[in-house]
């Protein structure tokens, strides 16, 4: 109940019922809205910005969004259950550092990759234990592990950067399908997205995530094991962040403790832009993918148009604010109009 909406009006339920009816359709539509906006941005940019529509640029754009897209997948599920994981970027950094350190010890990379992903899962499990067993707020816990994991990354690798990963691997991280513009890494993201999408949208587990995000008590009355589900989501989030760490390290051929520093807020922003409610219970994976791509595309297009990186900040922030304010204000305006209409004949 920590999440009951603060600003629902006193005459709540009925008004809310209407608002919700609207909200639901709006939000099922928010996916569409954001996909349409994305398409529009792509079309406009292709027509007006030199070099945007080239194969090479598409490849770079997609490569750039891979880590955020990867991490956003499990984070979407976590936020839908009403929790949050801010430690993802630090998990990525620690996994990258450990990957470098293990490479120095001479282990084969195949083994290292598996170990690193497992390590990510373990780090996620720590978050999960704190949140589900000790009942601590996820925001506070993951701020703590955000600092702790990044710190441990420095402890592991210190000031060193490990860079001599084999060419085959680093090249593979950049390679594209049939030499076109679709990186294999993006294919991996899309496959994972399909898997997460299936789990979220058409399995009993996914249904239960929405239920517990909206009303954990009612979910547990219906026999849903809320704590267990959340725990495994944190584990998944950690493991996928570990995988993102592997990609990051190979793509930049550089394992460093400060990799992906401060990426967490960008990921959260992308997820929220995709229409996922920070209070849980609402959102869809398609919207999140579109949100991630929208941020990446806008960034890329503005860069090509020589818009300064400062303006990018303003654009990102405004998009985020607009994504929550606009639907709400429209909803409030509608119900106000409806009330006026109802009152008028009386």
């Amino acid at each position: 109940m920590a999440h009951d909406s603060l600003y629902a009006q006193p005459e709540a339920p009925a008004e809310r019922a209407e608002a919700h009816a609207w909200w639901r359709t709006a939000l099922t539509r928010w996916d569409t809205v954001i996909v349409v906006v994305l398409a529009a941005v792509v079309v406009v940019a292709s027509l007006s910005i030199d070099g945007f529509a080239s194969t090479g640029n598409a490849q770079f754009l997609l490569l750039d969004v891979v880590p955020i897209a990867l991490i956003a997948l499990p984070l979407t599920l976590i936020i839908i259950t009403g929790e949050i994981d801010l430690s993802v970027a630090s998990t990525l950094g620690l996994c990258s550092a450990v990957m470098g350190q293990l490479w120095l010890t001479g282990l084969p990379l195949e083994v290292i990759v598996v170990l690193v992903v497992l390590l990510g899962g373990l780090l996620g499990a720590v978050n999960g234990v704190f949140v589900t067993r000790f009942g601590l707020p996820a925001l506070a816990v993951t701020i703590g592990t955000l600092a702790a994991y990044r710190g441990l990354a420095y402890v592991v690798l210190g000031d060193r950067a490990v860079a001599d990963f084999p060419y085959d691997w680093t090249a593979a991280s950049l390679s594209t399908v049939a030499g076109g513009s679709l990186p294999w890494a993006m294919v991996m993201v899309l496959l994972l997205a399909c898997a997460f999408g299936v789990v979220l949208h058409v399995t009993p587990f996914g249904r239960k995530l929405y239920a517990m995000g909206n009303n954990a008590e009612a979910a547990s009355f219906a026999g849903v094991s809320v704590a267990t589900a959340k725990f495994w989501l944190f584990v998944t989030s950690g493991a996928v962040s570990g995988l993102a760490g592997v990609f990051w390290t190979l793509r930049f051929a550089s394992a460093r403790a400060d990799n992906a520093f401060a990426l967490e807020l960008a990921v959260v922003a992308a997820v929220l832009l995709g229409g996922v409610s920070i209070f849980g219970g609402r959102g869809a994976l398609l919207g999140v993918l579109a949100g991630v791509l929208l941020l990446g595309t806008v960034r890329n297009a503005l860069q090509l148009a020589d818009v300064s990186s400062e303006a990018l900040y303003v654009v990102t922030g405004s998009l985020l604010v607009a994504s929550v304010v606009v639907p709400n204000v429209v909803g409030m305006a509608r119900s106000w109009l409806r009330r006026r209409r109802r009152a008028a004949p009386a």
């Binding site: 030199d50 070099g51 945007f52 080239s54 090479g56 640029n57 770079f60 750039d64 420095y154 210190g158 000031d159 060193r160 950067a161 860079a163 001599d164 084999p166 060419y167 680093t170 090249a171 950049l174 390679s175 030499g179 990051w248 930049f252 051929a253 550089s254 460093r256 403790a257 400060d258 990799n259 992906a260 520093f261 401060a262 960034r299 890329n300 860069q303 090509l304 020589d306 300064s308 990186s309 400062e310 900040y313």
Partner: protein, 333 residues
């Protein structure tokens, strides 16, 4: 060090030296020159970029400066990719990570761009030339010389560096240690290296920590502008002012006050604007075919005169300038 980083996705080895150099080729007009600093809005790079802009204006090119707001290699990669798409002729960059931006730079070179690194190098196989602000030896030498002079050639000193993985600083510190091995410095004892992460508050705290844990410290060397300014501010407000010597690398504007109030006697730095100026000319020379980056080639760099490419494609700007009370007011950067 890496073994294979230089290679880029699928494509063969970048053409490090295409064709032969023609020292007499005229500088092309209308060259597009992009400066990509470690971080945009960083005053040091703003000044360097200003030098570059002047140079580009002199040879009638198109200048622009792009870059990330935060000093990260991954964002630099994305900007390099953008510049590649824009078919920029010359990319002058200062690397946040010697390895991470390598691939992107080589892709840019394959599509025809000339890459000049300045201030902070990448691996040599990823760029055409590197403009070094001074030789690392020169920087190490001048700093050791300054601190030795200020503490009377005797006593404990410490180094306050930038981040623990800053390439430049680490190289200089290594060379300073070698320099200190010399007989004339045998009474000087380098006790520790602290890291202020190029963060003002952290550097401030680290300075304070140094003085707490080594009460008999005689001097501090801070080979980074942020660290030097923060340390100076700490000393100027403490009882150590004038008792503990401080020197290193800093900008005159930041240090003016501390030189005048006696906290700092002298410090050094190259002129960042000259660094940018030279980088722009080197890029233009590369793009015009005057040079290819081979050792021994020479080119004319406007008002700075003639430069010769050294080993590994390194071009050295010159000895650092030492700033002290008598000359500091002549500089504004």
């Amino acid at each position: 060090g890496g073994t294979t980083r230089g290679s880029e996705n699928g494509g063969g080895e970048p053409a490090a030296s295409t064709g032969t150099a023609n020292p007499d080729a005229p500088l092309k007009e209308g060259l597009s020159v992009a400066f990509l600093p470690k971080q945009i809005n960083n005053p040091y790079f703003t000044v360097a970029g200003g030098g570059g802009e002047d140079a580009v204006a002199e040879f009638n090119g198109e200048y622009k400066e792009v870059g990330p707001s935060e000093a990260s290699a991954s964002s630099q990669v994305s900007y390099i990719n953008t510049l590649t798409q824009q078919q920029t002729d010359v990319i002058a960059t200062s690397a946040n990570d010697p390895n991470a931006i390598c691939g992107a730079l080589n892709t840019a070179r394959q599509s025809g761009a000339k890459v000049v690194t300045f201030d902070s190098d990448t691996n040599p196989e990823c760029r055409d030339v590197f403009i070094s602000q001074a030789t690392a030896e020169g920087i190490a030498h001048v700093q050791v010389e300054m601190i030795a002079e200020q503490i009377g050639g005797k006593g404990k000193i410490a180094v306050l560096s930038a981040t623990p993985n800053a390439t430049n600083q680490n190289e200089w510190i290594e060379l300073m240690k070698e320099e200190l091995e010399k007989q004339e410095y045998s009474d000087i004892d380098l006790v520790t290296v602290a890291y202020g992460d190029d963060d003002d508050q952290k550097s401030f705290q680290e300075t304070q920590g140094l003085l707490r844990s080594y009460p008999d410290l005689k001097g501090i060397v801070s080979p980074t502008t942020v660290g030097l300014a923060a340390a100076a501010r700490y000393l100027s407000g403490s009882q150590y002012q004038g008792k503990v010597a401080l020197t290193g690398l800093g900008t005159p504007n930041q240090m003016r006050q501390f030189v005048k109030d006696g906290t700092v006697e002298k410090f050094a730095l190259w002129k960042p604007s000259d660094l940018g100026y030279l980088a722009a000319y080197a890029g233009a020379a590369l793009a015009s075919g005057q040079i290819t980056g081979e050792q021994g080639q020479t080119f004319e760099a406007g008002k700075l005169g003639e430069y010769t490419i050294g080993e590994n494609g390194v071009i050295v700007l010159g000895p650092p300038t030492v700033f002290e009370k008598s000359n500091i007011d002549e500089f504004d950067f």
